[in-house]
Amino acid sequence: MEDLKNIIKECTSGNARAQEKLYRMFAPKMFGVCLRYAKDRTEAEDNLQEGFVKVFSNIASFRHEGSFEGWVRRIMVNVSLSKFRKQHVLYPVKDMGQYDSVQVSDDILAKIGAEDLLGLIQQLPPRYRMVFNLFVMEGLNHQEIGEEMNISVGTSKSNLARARDILKRKVLELYGEVESNANLLA
């Protein structure tokens, strides 16, 4: 921990070696974060790059109050969000449609690998993906999501529901049959 503090301090004064150390420490995890928010790898790579440039140029403003990882992660999420805002002109349309919900047993979900789950998330329509990530992964409530994304609480709620629904359907579509002949695919 003391080590990280030193590295951060070195980074503040622009030490290139410390910067690389810091990058090596956090890049894989943050790439995971970026991948979740992006539609594909290329976008995730871009966001990771932009995020880390932000991290290094603003590192002096890190006050050692919260966790450093949380701070870096927040930057990554913000970069992804602002990219999303730029790319998708937001129409404040209320999306309150009722969907027939499907059931997926936890067992199936539990068996799917993280990488595949990530793939499913990436396939979601951009706004659903954002809402799902912010709600599930960052633990934001709908009020906060609404503020971050400039949408209403209702839209956030329905987007989340829709995201879950799509994910479930995808899971069923791809892995639903698997249960019976799991051996073949395992």
Partner: protein, 471 residues
């Protein structure tokens, strides 16, 4: 149902939270490249700011230095200096209250307009007047600032800057009138086109306000340099004859201009220039100076002969720009002992030919440029101060043995201040490129020589021809 959702979220969270993937290597390379680019930009920004700061400090110091030296020099010199600014400051002070009165007059008109009945007509007349006054008032503030900046460094410039300010105001007014006189023919445009054009004009006007930028220039100038000199009586009685004149030379340098507004630019840079004096041979063998009457001179041959002071094996001679310290006895020159004690010195130097004192300067200017006419051919007024650092100090004798470096001039101050005025003609030959021809007068405000007996102020008239690049 709720539980199921939570479970699903939980599974996603748990699985993805710990998910890591090594990003491709080029991401780090890009980050590094980005960071170093940012660092470079920061450094450049820092450099340019510190350069600006350094120039301001330099300008301030040179102004201060000039004031100091002006106080230190002999009263005779101080007198002429004191007289000049008094003449110029008086009209300036008179000018300001007048302008204030004008703005006050418009201000006093307003309460009158509040009277019922006269309200509408008074307002309609008062408003445009006010609008016209405001920019003028603003300009006077700016002009005032310009004057004070210049006044702090070079008092001689005050008058010269003042007149251009007046001209430009008129010029600007004429411009705005021209625009109003040419109304667009409404028949030729659709209403929506008109709206688009109005919008474009509005944007253009808005963009023009923000206009700032840099301009780099490369200059060479053939020039003629001469001097104004005054000498103490004793010094003069033992001095080379004053049939001196100036010399032609070449100067040049690079300049950087920063555009602070539509019309005003601040310029700095670095120039090389040469100043000096030449003293020709005098046929007069007599008078107060010549002590070598005994020497038989062929008729028609010009000699100059000047008392020299020989002490501790060193020879020194009073000359126009100061005392020349000889490195040795020049070829073709002879030293004669003075038989009668005419002057202070016991010897005289006799030689044919011409004597010259040459000073090389590196000049760092701080100029203000004001655009008078903004056309394809721009006309600008230039004025400002230079810090002239003496980097070369040589004295020569040009006689039958050729040009000989005989030594240097004593008591030459390294840092000097000169004032410059000029008129620039700029012709755009491309989007960013322009050529300029600029006659300038550069006059040293302080005496180059610290010796209180010598007041030597060189000046130079040059036609600066240059190529400018705007970005």
């Amino acid at each position: 149902m709720k539980e199921e959702k939570n479970n699903m979220d939980k599974i996603f969270r748990e699985k993805l939270e710990g998910f890591r993937e090594e990003p491709p290597a080029f991401v780090w390379d890009n980050i590094q490249a980005n960071l170093s680019e940012m660092r470079r930009k920061k450094r450049i920004a820092w450099y340019s700011w510190s350069a600006v700061a350094a120039l301001l400090v330099l300008a301030f110091l040179s102004g201060w230095y000039f004031n100091e030296t002006a106080e230190k020099t002999t009263p005779r010199v101080a007198e002429t200096e004191r007289v000049e600014p008094q003449h110029e400051i008086i009209p300036r002070e008179r000018e300001i209250p007048v302008q204030e009165n004008e703005t006050m007059a418009t201000g006093s008109r307003e309460p009158e307009s509040e009277q019922p009945g006269a309200e509408k007509t008074a307002e309609s007349t008062a408003m445009p007047i006010q609008e016209e006054k405001l920019p003028v008032a603003h300009e006077t503030i700016q002009a005032e600032r310009t004057r004070t900046i210049l006044a702090s460094a070079g008092m001689n410039l005050i008058k010269r800057i003042e007149t251009p300010e007046i001209i430009t105001k008129e010029q600007e007014r004429r411009h705005s009138l021209e625009k109003k006189e040419k109304p667009l023919d409404p028949v030729n445009y659709f209403t929506w086109e008109q709206k688009l054009m109005d919008e474009n004009i509005r944007r253009l006007a808005h963009a023009a306000k923000k206009q700032t930028g840099w301009k780099m220039g490369l200059n060479v100038s053939p020039g003629y340099s001469s001097y104004a000199a005054n000498h103490g009586e004793t010094y003069a009685s033992n001095m080379t004859s004053e049939t001196g004149d100036g010399n032609t030379n070449l100067s040049g340098g690079i300049s950087v201009q920063y555009k602070t507004g539509k019309r005003v630019r601040v310029e700095s840079g670095i120039y090389y220039a040469q100043n000096g004096q030449k003293t020709g041979s005098s046929p007069m063998f007599s008078g107060m100076r010549a002590e070598a009457d005994y020497m038989a001179t062929p008729a028609g041959k010009l000699h100059f002969n000047t008392p020299v002071n020989i002490t501790n094996n060193r020879m020194a001679m009073n000359s126009t720009a100061g005392i020349i310290e000889f490195e040795g006895l020049p070829k073709g020159a002879e030293v004669a002992a003075n038989l009668e004690s005419y002057g202070l010195y016991s010897n005289s130097l006799l030689t044919q030919g011409e004597l010259s004192q040459v000073f090389d300067f590196v000049e760092i200017p701080l100029y203000l440029r004001y655009l008078i006419i903004d056309r394809k051919m721009d006309v600008e007024l230039v004025g400002g101060v230079n810090t002239g650092v003496v980097v070369g100090n040589n004295a020569y004798i040009d006689n039958e043995y050729g040009l000989q470096n005989i030594g240097k001039t004593r008591d030459i101050s390294t840092v000097n201040v000169s004032g410059t005025v000029g008129l620039g003609l700029n012709y755009a030959i491309g989007r960013n490129l322009s050529v300029a021809v600029e006659p300038r007068l550069n006059y040293y405000l302080n005496s180059l020589n610290r010796n209180p007996e010598v007041d030597f102020r060189p000046y130079r008239i040059g036609i600066y021809t240059g190529l400018y690049y705007e970005f």
